[in-house]
Amino acid sequence: METKPKTDVVAVDAARSLGVVQTREYTFSGPQALDSGESLGPVTIAYETYGHLNAERSNAVLILHALSGDAHAAGYLHGEKGPGWWDAMIGPGKAFDTDRYFVICSNVIGGCKGSTGPASINPKTGKPYGTEFPFITIADMVEAQRHLIDHLGIDRLLCVAGGSMGGMQALQWVASYPERVRAAIPIATALKHSPQQIAFNEVIRQSIMADPAWRGGDYYETGQPEKGLAVARMIGHITFMSEQSMEEKFSRKLKKGHLSFNFDADFEVEGYLRYRGANFVKRFDANSYLYITKALDYFDLSGGKLIPPGGIDTCFLVISFQSDWLYPSYQSQEIVRLLKRRHVDATYCELKATYGHDAFLVEVEGQGLLIRHFLERTYRGERNGNGKPR
């Protein structure tokens, strides 16, 4: 979320907010073996934690971020005006209640917000990796998080939760370490990308790589391919909104009240996309965008890959949004069908929010209610049928 609350709003919010938080780093030497056959090491993971781990170490919730997200999920970083990307959901008394739960959020590997990624220094060359960075998958991201969770001394997570790519990581956690996850909340996500989703990502990648400033990924001394990355992000923002939310937000409103008869941004929607694109290049590395979109496209837990033959004890809360056409509800329903087939304790709801894919970031009421009560039930240890699913 890139909302910029006024100073007085921040002060009011601070009562129910985490206040000032810190991003930390954890480094393990690795090397971590990757799905591609290559390896990565040393690996640094940027992360934040909120609330306190209880004596039984049973109240840890791992929040997983989406494509351009970071470890800063809630509260305020020193000197920054805007809160973390899921601040509406995480904090004292909020859905992920930091008075009760120990909430962790880490930046994915391959990213550019403190964790090891293409912009990090390659120890072999002393220069940024660029396209020397190995290809990573969602499973590799989860494996790096597993090192962090071990480091924090947590055997079993109360919950893994996230939207979009965060939802994929939540699913991957269950596939990789079912015995370490009591509950999973995949939101607005899929078991695998459809050709349409891959197609959007390919156009996004091509727009970055078509910018001469990309220089085959070797641009860290010459500057980002800003034009290509901005267009890539503009494409993204179109897919994040619904037709209705665009109509409500912009309609055909003109920026200057009249047509310019040149190629300036006449319509507000054009201005919005340009603004979003221009802002994005200041905060995100183009190579990270390439690597992470590839990881999204490679992800595939369809077939029997989500749930091992012996079944799982993990409970699921699956959420989708009616207006989300990037990750349509049918993809969440595929997850639910799989869970039903395998007798997994499952809750699913399609929320009527109109924001499109962005809903997982901004819709608080329905999501908040579902998550709050689902988490409470899991935390209380209320076992369906005394924990005898089969």
Partner: protein, 197 residues
Amino acid sequence: MVEAGSRVLDLGCGTGDLIHLLMREKNAWVQGIELDEQAIYECVKKGLPVCQSDIESGLAEYPDRSFDVVILNQSLQEVRKAFFLLREALRVGSRVVVGFPNFAHLSARISLFLGGRAPMTPSLPYHWYDTPNVRFLSISDFKNFCRDKGFVVERARFLNGGKEIRFWPNLRALGAIFLLSGGKSVESGQVQEATHG
């Protein structure tokens, strides 16, 4: 009708009161299916697992005999493909509990025959224009239906509020609860979708 420790699927579970009771009192492993978003919120508040789905689209994802009991409490009469759904319920569950309002209750008959009005009774509280019901059946209808389709009626209870009705139930009972098992009619795996039947 539900034994302790059973695996229970409630089709059209509403706000989840029944499966909540079964979970607490009978230690049942429960799963609810419900279409209404607000009702789902109420289930989740009670700590129940519930999936949003239209039960009319079937239960294809559930393997045969996934549940000990499948419940259709006050939802059969709201479904167009009633026969299809019952056969699906009997495929995925060993037994099926069906509860429905009796359209042939005395007050309904009086209202129709003497008043000339579409019946409104305590178990059929809707106007003709706002009723969710699309199938109007009596206890006798359902008995005949089970006999024709080869469903085995293991038990039946006829109720007037909290009171059990033993004599002339088709005339005197506002509602009925049947416990069915499939017999030989549904053992051949997944059924074909019947046309609105």
